[in-house]
Amino acid sequence: MQRFLRTILTIVKRELKGYFESPVAYVFIFIFLALSGYFAFQFGEFYIRRQANLDSFFKYLPWLFIFLIPAVTMRLWAEERRTGTIELIMTLPVTLTETILGKFLASWLFMGLALALTAPLIFTVTYLGDPDLGALFAAYFGGFLMAGAYLSIGLMTSALTRNQVIAFIVSAVICLFLVLIGMDEVMAALSGLAPLWLIRLIAGFSFMTHFGSIYRGVIDLRDVVYFLSVIFLMLFLNGIILQNRKAA
């Protein structure tokens, strides 16, 4: 167990270093923060609504993630395959589980950092008014969980190809799908085509459905379990993909 954790920690450290040793991390964080600010205040009509909360930031967070998170994850496996380092990592005394968990946790920590850096938004709204800090915390927690789900999807698709562009597009499309199926507008459009229970069922798999309630301040265990299940499933698939490639 101790060896397991130490190995994962070693991989997490290397991965995180990898983010910050290339310009990717800085560009990403800059764009993420700039867009967050834009969505929170300008696009979300913060000044018109005259409410001291971050609802619009969280409302657009799933959309922001759709094209930003695949940009983080697209290189994770694809790059290792392109440069051949995958042969190195797979022949070191490290299990596949350790490698996958290490890569995933590093990317999750990185997104956690990016989210944490939006803290000035919190300071701003507390300065301007009196927001419900509990609800804000819940929303951040939900955002972090949801980021994990996006990352796990991106990591999985990155294992499918050595081409980063393909990895990006495939994971963005999967994430877009999981966002769209939970949108009220999409559900309404589908209502004539399929029975209501089916639409509900499909919507039950959407990020929107589960993130929606968390960012309004309700942390429901079912939503937490949903995101964790997506993460688990995707990491598991990731393992199967890599294992298959070894045996192919």
Binding site: E87, L88, T91, L92
Partner: protein
């Protein structure tokens, strides 16, 4: 000891490795030769656990690479083809990472990294990002990675590929000095390398082993093996070939090269154990044409290689 047991790998419809078995013991340096796409890399990848064999398995130090893969991988040092490394990391950072993965911690880790940097002549570039280094240095960084934990089993896929002659020499020296207490498998296209460092040669063609012997034994398969090559001054007129063929014991002769003053001839003996060298020297001495240079051909690996690998097609 490394034992390959009936290793077979089939990619789709192509059989890349077809029932390969061999054993390499401590102190041996096994050179794996073969044309491109013969299955050298695939074989190594199965032994190191990167690929799962379609059938068969390998034992490394008694550990089955399929059943106790982790234990086997702990004992192996592996230099993959093209020496992959993480380009954005520094040399030091990269080796630090490998050392940690290999279970070294604290002071122990530091020592191990420094020692490896010294051994591979990397101290001067240790804080440089790997992508800023020349190809030779990159190769050495990956080489360093493979020997950091002083492994019992060292598997290297084209360790000197892309190096300049001096660097090749260095790497070969390193391999040779390490060989005494290790089991080494290396693949190469360089026949000279096999001749200078390998104790045994495995030739693979189309996924099968077509030869498994010492470099010296392999060379005796050469058509040139035992032939006598000698250089004569061109004094007066001479029908060099005819004269050579008249010497008893000579089967046939051929001119290797002819200059304005000298001619070099290769004589093939009827039976290789005859004392033909002496006879040739005496024969030409009597005719007033002292032999300038003379030597017995050991045989050429490149010729044997070509013969063996094209025969099997």
């Amino acid at each position: 000891m490394i034992e390959a047991k009936h290793l077979t790998k089939i990619f789709g419809r192509k059989t890349a490795v077809d029932d390969i078995s061999f054993t390499v013991g401590k102190g041996e340096i096994l050179g794996v030769l073969g044309p491109n796409a013969a299955g050298k890399s695939t074989t190594m990848r199965m032994i190191t656990g990167f690929l799962v064999p379609t059938s068969g398995t390998a034992l490394v130090g008694g550990h089955d690479v399929l059943e106790s893969s982790l234990a086997a991988r702990q004992k192996i040092g592996y230099l993959p083809e093209n020496a992959p490394t993480y380009p954005d990391m520094t040399v030091n950072g990269f080796l630090d990472f490998i050392a940690e993965i290999r279970g070294f911690r604290g002071q122990n880790k530091k020592q191990q990294v420094i020692r490896t940097l010294e051994r591979c002549n990397l101290l001067e570039v240790r804080f440089q990002a790997i992508h800023t280094l020349s190809k030779g240095f990159k190769q050495r960084v990956c080489f360093a990675q493979s020997i950091l934990h002083d492994p019992e089993y060292l598997i290297m896929d084209e360790p000197t590929d892309g190096l300049d002659p001096n660097q090749k020499h260095e790497v070969r020296d390193m391999i040779r000095t390490m060989a005494q207490n290790k089991t080494i498998i290396l693949s190469t296209h360089n026949l000279e390398e096999v001749d200078t460092i390998c104790t045994r040669v495995l030739i693979i063609a189309q996924g099968r082993i077509v030869a498994d012997e010492t470099p010296a034994a392999l060379k005796t398969r050469s058509g040139l093996h035992g032939a006598i090559c000698f250089t004569l001054p061109k004094i007066g007129e001479g029908v060099w070939l005819k004269e050579t063929e008249e010497i008893p014991g000579v089967d046939r002769a051929a001119i290797v090269s002819e200059g304005p003053e000298f001619v070099t001839i290769r004589a093939f003996p009827k039976k290789s154990d005859e004392r033909l060298t002496e006879k040739i020297i005496r024969h030409f001495m009597v005719k007033g044409k002292p032999v300038e240079k003379i030597y017995i051909e050991e045989g050429r690996l490149d010729e044997v290689f070509r013969m063996i690998t094209t025969q099997s097609l």
